[in-house]
């Protein structure tokens, strides 16, 4: 095997490329990316980068790719894959042949129905270009309306407040963060936003969006109109599967892979936000994650398997979000939990442990100032991976070191 092509130069693709070299792959590695930049980190786009950084925070500097002998083709997209001929066609008309192919095409923002997301005043946030455009519009006194009470919208709302903009956040459901975040944690987030002056409207339905030269507005079903300088739509992301689908690969809420990240086609693998995989710790349940560490873990795992390995996905899903000085971290998937045990810590920080009926730890969700909950969430993650049935009283007692429960 001498040629590996990776499609999609994001966190996951970059991680896979370096992973191949770290594991001693000596053949050719080509990373193709549609964006103009070398792979960069997306999490800062809704957080600090919005405040300062004028350049994206690169996953690795250009020199590291050169040193590792990784060919990066930026500003080029792959238009089609020929699995039988083992080649891909590029947007500049060129072709690349491969022995093994990795798809790390990521995801894109779900557009608001009827709006492409291409306008300046009604936007989504996924790329460095999006962040720059949004930031230039967020001066003190400007009004930002965020559609969607998910992580990206909430982080952007927090950052916009720091920039002095007025913020209204609209959520169609009864509360913010319904996806994967337990209510007590979501309440802390909501109250903090309100204390910082963000107006949060939950349970409101949007009838239409409109844009003029001077502003953009949201018409609600109850007849109200919210007029803003800028509307950012944050209603989730859809995986970039078209390339794989057109090549005949199986799709199931993402490019479907097995526990080794292999797609339904020989010699083609997929990893990161674009793929759905059977989860190791949740009975093989097929899931697709949109998380930074998952992109790294799967990129690294894909590298090993592209080289002939048969490593299996065993990482516990993990996610964090920063809003103001609060950090939220979630390890595992709480679906199916029968019981919640709460651990209260200093300065209002707390962790909820989600247990099955027979006491196995499924997930842990924590929130607090700075890194208050980080260490215990990490230990919870290790307990989840180990299938531990921790003692409930010990979980609840902040004085008990969770490390001591790892063997339980």
């Amino acid at each position: 095997m001498s040629q590996i092509v990776i499609i999609g130069a994001g966190e996951c693709g970059a991680r896979a490329a370096f992973g191949l070299r770290e594991k001693g792959f000596a053949g050719q590695v080509t990373l193709v990316g549609a964006e103009e930049h070398l792979p960069y980190e997306r999490p800062p786009l809704s957080k600090d980068a919005m405040l300062h950084g004028h350049e994206p925070k690169l996953v690795s500097e250009a020199a590291c790719y050169a040193e590792a002998g990784i060919q990066v083709l930026t500003g080029l997209s792959v238009e089609s894959i020929d699995p039988a001929g083992k080649s891909v066609r590029l947007s500049n008309g060129g072709n690349l042949t491969y022995d093994r192919l990795l798809l790390t095409t990521g995801a894109r923002p779900r557009p608001f129905p009827g709006f492409s997301g291409a306008s300046n005043r009604i936007r989504t946030l996924r790329t460095h270009g999006d962040a720059v455009s949004i930031r230039t519009q967020l001066q003190p006194g400007k009004h930002l309306a965020v559609i969607g009470g998910g992580f990206i919208g909430l982080e952007l709302a927090a950052t916009a407040r720091k920039l002095g903009a007025q913020v209204t956040l609209i959520e169609g459901l009864a509360r913010i963060l319904t996806r994967g975040v337990p209510e007590p944690v979501a309440t802390v987030v909501a109250e903090r936003h309100q204390a910082e002056g963000v107006e949060i409207l939950c349970g409101v339905k949007i009838q239409d969006l409109a844009e003029t030269r001077d502003n953009a507005s949201i018409l609600l079903e109850d007849g109200r109109t919210i007029v803003a300088d800028l509307i950012v739509v944050g209603i989730g992301a859809v995986p970039n599967v078209e390339l794989a689908r057109d090549a005949g690969l199986a799709i199931d809420n993402g490019i479907a892979v097995d526990q080794h990240l292999r797609t339904s086609a020989t010699d083609i693998y997929a990893a990161g936000d674009c793929c759905s995989f059977p989860s190791a710790h949740y009975g093989g349940l097929r899931m697709r994650l949109e998380a930074w560490r998952n992109a790294q873990d799967q990129g690294t795992l894909a590298a090993a398997n592209l080289m002939g390995g048969a490593e299996t996905m065993s990482a516990v899903p993990w996610f964090w979000s920063d809003q103001y000085d609060l950090t939220l971290q979630i390890a595992g998937i709480a679906d199916g939990a029968a019981e919640i045990v709460r651990r209260d810590m200093a300065e209002g920080a707390f962790i909820l442990f989600h247990l099955t009926a027979d006491g196995r730890l499924l997930a842990a969700s924590g929130i607090g100032i700075g890194n208050a909950i980080a260490r215990d969430i990490r230990l919870a993650e290790m307990m989840i991976a180990a299938g531990v049935h921790p003692d409930r009283l010990a979980l609840a007692a902040p004085g008990t070191k969770l490390k001591s429960l790892l063997a339980a």
């Binding site: 370096f18 964090w320 980080a374 260490r375 990490r378």
Partner: protein
């Protein structure tokens, strides 16, 4: 000439744990290994400037509390994400 600085009493750090130590405008992380030896590193993660002392020590590894960047505190070597390089 020796410039010893007292950091803390040995019983202020548990085995396989870490504390933060600030000295002359710099911040350090001071570790006690499972085999009961003491080590010190720069106090901040190389990814973003986060105090490693809030992280988790397992064997020879300190994990950053922010995004789980891993470092060997005995050798200073990075052991994986978040900053990819070879």
């Amino acid at each position: 000439m020796s410039n010893w600085v007292e950091v803390c009493a040995t019983d202020e750090i548990d085995e396989e744990d870490v504390i933060r130590f600030d000295h002359e405008g710099k911040t350090f992380a001071v570790y006690r290994s499972p085999d009961d030896r003491f080590f010190a590193t720069d106090g901040l993660c190389t990814h973003e400037k986060i105090h490693l002392a809030d992280g988790l020590v397992m064997d020879d590894i300190i994990e950053c509390p922010k995004h789980n960047g891993r470092f060997n505190y005995k050798t200073g070597e990075a052991k994986g994400a978040p900053s990819a390089s070879t």
